[in-house]
């Protein structure tokens, strides 16, 4: 840094350090580097060791007129940590602390620069897991997961990363060091926007995260389906049955074919004659760099060939957690899969996927080496639009590249599609492909980003998707970083006035109901009854409580639409709404706000009253086994009321009854309102307890007039 150096802050202006911090893993940047176009070089790299040093670095950068690019492990694939010429790269990896672990509250404190796998190893050595397992876990940091809103391979059980974040410390140029969310943070309403802000609002330094005990049982199995439509139907039914599988992972026919995923691995296949011969040819001078140039230069032909060769697709399904709970869910889950046309392929495909789940990242570089480029794109939509979105994106990409897809993050209300493509050409070809693909996503009603962040690559498309709601983000950015010191040009850019299309019609299979944000619980219940469904989470208020005082699987709403400055906005086009920060709560405060809330079909129910000594304490204990009851409250007589829905309701109820012990009397199922509004954690024997979440008992906050 040019002016007086900051005492104690480790700084380097060495060419090597600046070079290493100049490029993240955006494949466009890799293509540039490979074709000899270097990334813009930063002016220096700094390694703060605590929030105070981060603050000092931001102050000094502002004084020097430089921008700051936060850099963890640089694993972002959207250009969020891409170099900016003359910038200060703030490397977070010296923020290395882990702990304390609170085994009672199931939380861990962790600094932002900790490598993901190192945190998981640390937790597992103590009998816990974060449950967040992205394929980048070896090459990403915890702060990066928060900044770009990552999602792991077991997200359908453990949740996506923001479901695990209870609170964080962020250092902002405008407000200094700020505690956000729990415990005790005064700026809880900022949490949704700081998660996913990719360093634009400040630098995340410390996080409080939810943890779970290491699962005692893991069940994985493969199923073959004739086509994507049948498999998607099975996935939807599985997710809407409240069974909470840990893995629901569908490979489309091309991906299934290329990966050979439904066939047992051939013994000695690696050493087959043809492979050996091809490897030798590749070693000839000049051959390796051109091996894929011809096939990838004819994407239309190659796509056609693979379409003809492909037949059937593989669905990997997994359950994990408490052994009794896994056993309770399996009969219902396997029935659903069988009835939907799934052919049971046994444990092998699931085991193989699990064993090689981090290997996918090693598969991209051989494509570059051989004269092509490879990239991935993750989008999402409600169930009724998933297939249309899948076809639309394939049609848009096929003229440019070989395309395949898998669906690996699923929710009761929809799914993410993860496209992989390989093409040939320079940045112009690559950029055209992305522009066409993103246009197709928006036209098909999907969200342009699910868990890879927005960065620079998707900033334009994400800003179109956010439309006038981007004002919520800009508003906060002006407060937290008025001089645009932190990572400018990422996530949200100016795209001019945008009016969102009318919200797409929801179908019964989407498992959602659109309601006014102002509507009462009674009115919403009536609406649900009229449509023959039940509200999944009957929160008193449509928006429910803040993220850190509800259980991670209780998502109050998906889509939110409203009018901002006279223009219609629709956020949450797909589950999770990860095109940048989550602005849905902000949008819900605007005119005519409507939210899509999750519903469940009517069907099997189980409910019981348990006469136990400390009912709220017992309720917390139930949640910590991994049970996810639809009803969990204490009635007027002081009895614990527990209820389950769906095809495994009775089996799960039996497990709950056994765990509770004492006198358990089965009663008619009757959903109870879930408290909203400002809730705070309290002691389980506090007389003011109104609900529980994974982290403990909750009471209403005393609001000062």
């Amino acid at each position: 840094m040019s002016s007086e150096p900051i005492s104690q802050l480790r700084t380097s202006e060495a060419a090597l350090d600046r070079f290493a911090a100049s490029r993240d893993l955006w494949p466009g940047g890799t293509l540039d580097a490979w074709q000899g176009r270097p990334a813009p070089m930063p002016a220096c790299v700094v390694w703060p060791e605590d929030a105070t040093q981060v603050e000092e670095a931001l102050v000094q950068a502002r004084r020097d007129g430089r921008v700051v690019v936060p850099y963890g492990a640089g694993s972002g694939v959207s250009g969020g940590a891409r170099g900016v010429a003359g910038s200060v790269v703030l490397d977070t990896k010296a923020l290395q602390g882990i702990g304390p672990l609170d085994a009672d509250a199931l939380t861990v404190r962790c600094q932002a620069g900790v490598n993901g796998q190192h945190l998981e190893d640390w937790l597992q050595a103590r009998g816990f897991t974060l449950g967040h397992s992205p394929s980048s876990i070896w090459c990403s940091t915890v702060g990066g997961w928060a900044a770009a809103r990552g999602a792991g391979q077991f997200s359908s059980y453990y949740g996506v990363f923001e479901d695990m974040v209870l609170g964080l410390t962020v250092v902002t140029p405008g407000k200094g060091i700020v505690e956000v969310g729990a415990p005790g943070g005064a700026h809880g309403h900022w949490l949704d926007q700081i998660l996913g802000s990719e360093g634009r609002l400040g630098v995340i330094t410390d996080l409080t995260l939810r943890v779970r005990p290491v699962p005692s049982r893991r069940w994985l199995r493969g199923y073959r389906f004739d086509g994507v439509a049948a498999a998607l139907d099975a996935m939807r039914r599985l997710m809407q049955a409240e069974l909470w599988p840990s893995v629901v992972r569908l490979y489309d026919p091309v991906d299934t074919r290329i990966g050979g995923k439904t066939k047992p691995k051939k013994e000695g296949g690696e050493h087959g004659f043809v492979r050996r011969w091809l490897k030798r040819v590749e070693e000839l001078p000049g051959v390796r760099r051109r091996t894929l140039a011809l096939p990838l230069g004819l994407p239309g032909v190659v796509n056609h060939i693979f379409d003809r060769l492909a037949s059937g697709c593989l669905l990997v399904v997994g359950f994990e957690g408490d052994s009794d709970l896994v056993e309770a869910c399996l009969p219902a889950a396997t029935d659903i899969l069988r009835e939907a046309g799934g052919e049971d392929l046994g444990e092998d495909p699931g085991r193989r996927w699990f064993d090689s789940r981090h290997a996918v990242s090693f598969k991209l570089m051989p494509v570059f080496e051989r004269g092509g480029f490879a990239d991935t794109m993750e989008v999402a939509a409600p169930w009724s639009r998933v297939e249309g979105l899948y076809e639309a994106v394939r049609a848009a990409v096929r003229p440019h590249a070989l395309v395949m897809a898998h669906m690996s993050h699923v929710y009761p209300e929809g799914a993410c599609i993860y496209f992989s493509f390989a093409g040939r050409g320079d940045r112009a070809v690559y950029d055209r492909l992305w522009a066409d693909a993103q246009r197709a996503v928006l036209a098909a009603g999907g969200t342009v980003s699910h868990h890879h962040g927005v960065g620079q690559l998707k900033a334009r498309a994400a800003s179109v998707e956010l439309g006038a709601a981007a004002a919520g983000y800009v508003e906060l950015a002006e407060e937290l970083d008025p001089h645009e010191v932190c990572n400018p040009g990422r996530v949200v850019v100016d795209v001019g006035p945008v009016e969102a299309p009318l919200p797409w019609a929801l179908e019964p299979r989407d498992g959602m109901l659109r309601v006014s944000v102002e509507s009462s619980l009674e009115a919403r219940r009536q609406l649900a009854t009229d449509q023959g469904v039940e509200l999944m989470w009957p929160f008193e208020d449509v928006l429910g409580p803040e993220r850190w005082v509800r259980s991670r699987w209780q998502q109050p709403y998906t889509e939110v639409s409203a009018t901002v400055e006279g223009r219609r906005c629709v956020l949450g086009r797909g589950p999770r709404s990860a095109s940048g920060p989550d602005l849905r709560r902000w949008l819900a405060r605007h005119d005519g706000a409507v939210a899509a809330v999750p519903t469940v079909p009517l069907g099997e129910r189980w409910c019981a009253r348990a006469h136990v000594e400390a009912p709220w304490r017992s309720a917390i204990a139930l949640l910590r086994t991994g049970l996810r009851p639809a009803v969990l409250t204490v009635d007027d007589d002081g009895a614990l009321l527990v209820g389950f829905r769906g095809p495994a309701a009775a089996a799960l109820g039996a497990v709950a009854a056994e765990r509770l012990g004492g006198e358990v009397e089965q009663v008619d199922y009757a959903p109870r309102p879930l408290p909203s509004g400002p809730l705070v954690l309290c002691a389980p024997d506090d007389p003011r307890v109104v609900a529980v979440c994974e982290q403990g008992a909750l009471r209403r906050a005393e609001v000062t007039p």
Binding site: A15, A20, L25, P38, R288, F368, E369
Partner: protein, 266 residues
């Protein structure tokens, strides 16, 4: 070149295994980033000073190759580069060993344990044991120097066909390359081999005490030691040099030899 190209295109998954990248928190020390720097240097985009800095940031523990699904032999490629660039220090001047049927190599970190160490080994073997002082761990850090071959010949000549006992992985490596009959203390007295210094089973494969890295990247080596101490707490059963390095960072660290001598004494 193929190795360097392949690693420079990789998503840098090896960072999770690399003790330097982790402990020193230095992006430029990530093995795949070192490969990128080498490629950029070959393309004329980085100065040679930078690439010398990069290739000497590797402690040659092999953890990156063990983790890599493609098993790309980057450590070997970097070793070759270090030879080409002449980054290794010259071999130290060897000291004549004492007379004895068996020689016990004593490194600088082990000298404070004498004469107990020498007596305990003699008692365990039942033969007269001569001491062989080993400056710079018998030249462990010089194995990539162009004079290494001649140095190894000198080591062999000085050993003179005698059995040599050591409790040091680096010394053991030098003796092995010199073709000297080497007996490792842990095998001799039935102990678990020391952790660290390239042991893939160790929680962190290197604490930064390894030569010549510890000399060339003194601050990074100190950071690595502090990181190890913070994550692992008190450590025991270490190589003597690791124990000394960690003690320098404030850790409670016990070497394998110290623990053994304690056991022998009681």
């Amino acid at each position: 070149m193929k190795v360097i190209e392949r690693c420079s295109l990789c998503p840098r998954l090896c960072r999770t295994a690399c003790p330097v990248a982790t402990g020193a928190a230095r992006e430029a020390a990530v093995p795949a980033q070192i490969a990128s720097a080498v490629l950029a240097w070959r393309q004329g985009r980085l100065p040679s000073e930078a690439v010398r800095d990069a290739v000497t940031s590797c402690v040659d523990c092999g953890a990156c190759q063990d983790l890599c699904h493609l098993h790309v032999p980057l450590p070997e490629a970097l070793s070759t580069l270090r030879r080409e660039l002449g980054t290794a220090p010259p071999p130290p001047k060897l000291v004549d060993p004492e007379p004895g049927a068996v020689l016990l190599v004593v490194t600088r970190d082990e000298e404070s344990l004498l004469p107990r160490y020498q007596e305990a080994v003699a008692a365990a073997i039942g033969e007269q044991v001569g001491r062989w002082r080993a400056p710079e761990n018998l030249g462990e850090g010089s194995l990539e120097h162009r004079a290494a071959r001649r140095h190894l010949d000198d080591v062999r000549a000085m050993a003179g066909g005698r059995r040599v006992v050591t409790a040091h992985r680096g010394v053991s490596r030098v003796l092995g390359l010199a073709g000297v009959r080497c007996v490792e203390l842990w095998d001799l007295v039935g102990l678990t081999p020391p952790v660290g210094c390239g042991d893939p089973a160790a929680p962190i494969a290197c604490c930064g005490g390894r030569r010549p890295f510890a000399r060339q990247h003194e601050q990074d080596a100190a950071r690595m030691a502090r990181h190890w101490v913070a994550r692992e707490g008190p450590c025991s059963g270490l190589d003597s040099r690791c124990a000394a390095h960690l003690r320098g960072a404030g850790a409670q660290a016990t070497s394998l030899v110290e623990a053994w001598l304690e056991e022998v004494a009681t």
